[in-house]
Subunit: 292 residues, 2 copies
């Protein structure tokens, strides 16, 4: 290893000239360590040039947070009515926990479904990430395969985050809403983390019920759109790309695909809980992957 001396900082290897200047207006990282000052920045990237991706119609792909191959068509044929009837004590506890969380939520948001969706998606994206993290660490500790569940749960988290990125375009969070999200995340992340450690059976069941409620409130959202109480604005560009929607789609179409996603999450989580109820571990059953 030949040390390269005399650089102002960091990226010594930017000097080796793998990459020369690219368009400066692009939002790409440039090496602060390259010579020539601000005007002749080089892409250091440790040799990783930014990709250029185009859409099928040849226009530039403008999203860094997801790529064309991660987009999908939501399964609108999914059964929205399915409900897991709580019978065991744990199921009932999960059910009533969710039900009791619904009243303050209804009270807070009332009929502001756009805002409600945006706020609740910040919470919805937590369980998948926590579950994925815990299963990942367990897989490492125990030298065990995951059965695809790590990925399935992380995909759920990613999908929920995309819901948020979509609703953000429709409803802008106010400062006190940001503060609320901050607090709720702090509480919910830790509660769910602990809950998942103690009883993944309960945790997945609860998420299953949360998703049932989500389906319900998206259905209400659709009703308000149909009644004209909420304006059926054009779909945000990010939603059109993510769910491969027609260019003239509206908010109604977006809510419909999001609701289908929630129904999928409901199935995945009730399924995961069922596996635990059978006294088995998730890794023993192939995870339902490939929805996206």
């Amino acid at each position: 290893r030949a040390p390269v001396l005399g650089l102002r900082n960091g990226s010594s290897m930017a000097l080796q000239g793998e990459k020369t200047d690219r368009v400066k207006k692009e939002p790409v990282a440039e090496s602060a360590g390259a010579p020539g000052g601000k005007d002749e920045k080089q892409i250091s990237y440790w040799g990783i040039p930014p990709e250029k991706i185009s859409k099928e119609d040849g226009t530039e792909w403008k999203w860094n947070c997801f790529r064309p191959w991660e987009t999908y068509k939501a399964d609108l044929s999914i059964d929205l009515q399915k409900h897991h009837v709580p019978t065991t004590f744990l199921d009932k506890m999960a059910f009533w926990t969710v039900k009791s969380l619904r009243w303050p939520t209804d009270l807070f948001f009332q009929r502001r479904y756009g805002c409600r969706a945006m706020m609740l998606e910040t919470v919805a994206a937590v369980p998948g990430m926590v579950g994925g993290l815990l299963l990942h660490c367990k897989s490492l500790r125990r030298f065990e395969h995951s059965g695809g569940w790590i990925k399935a749960l992380l995909e759920e988290a990613e999908n929920e985050r995309m819901h948020l990125m979509t609703f953000m375009e429709v409803a802008k969070p106010k400062w006190y809403e940001r503060a609320l999200v901050f607090t709720v995340q702090g509480v919910f992340f830790n509660a769910y983390f602990l809950g998942y450690l103690i009883s993944p059976k309960f945790a997945h069941r609860m998420v299953g019920y949360l998703e049932e409620e989500a389906i319900h409130s998206y259905t209400e959202f659709l009703k308000e759109l149909d009644k004209g109480n909420i304006e059926n604005v054009p779909a945000p560009a990010i939603a059109i790309d993510y769910w491969r929607l027609p260019a003239d789609s509206t908010l109604r179409d977006v809510v419909t695909v999001v609701r289908a996603d929630e129904a999928h999450h409901r199935d995945v989580n009730h399924f995961a809980s069922d596996i635990h109820y059978q006294g088995r571990e998730l890794r023993e059953s192939a995870a339902p992957l490939g929805y996206h």
Copy 2:
């Protein structure tokens, strides 16, 4: 919602008959709630039947933890010699932290590179997951896009976990090694979590240096294989599928592709640290995705 009563537990919807019996020997979850006792189990799955995937040659795909579309050919042309020269105090601290961790490791494993690889991959898979988790939560809290970094870091974690799944096939962990992994994960997970919260700049730089060391020890591993001190056994089946290796590949080929992966992680992490050094946030620069 029509409640279905009288079931022994959980999966009420298994009764609705979306799925009938499939081969019982398959490692798929079966509904404990279905009537008919153990012999007539139904796949409840909340309507999610297990996928049947075949390889290109028509044989059945046997891995649940990764799918054919997630496999890739490692980039063997990647520069293995690149080194980030530490110049700032933080860089030097990261560099010497890693260097000082190397001595006890060398002492413990000596020339047992198979075992060393297996044990260290359990640690290597932690930073990507922690970074991904923290960026995910930040993205939710701030209503911000991630620039693809959440996915890039989670992909790194996943890739490291696949390294572990591969080396597990070559070296079996003994009970005291399992105990060691348990302890080290507990300490390292929390330390890295805190470290990333305090200074992602430092955290990524440290991982960059860890990866430089990983490249070094895989190079030593190759030397021992070439000298015949370690037997060049056939590559595990999982490695052949994951890296799309020829069927007659050996451990040497596996170590070579794993080393290329580590070089990629090194680049990604030094790059991430560089972005922070420029006073910017990761989301402002497109993440290097699409390696896999």
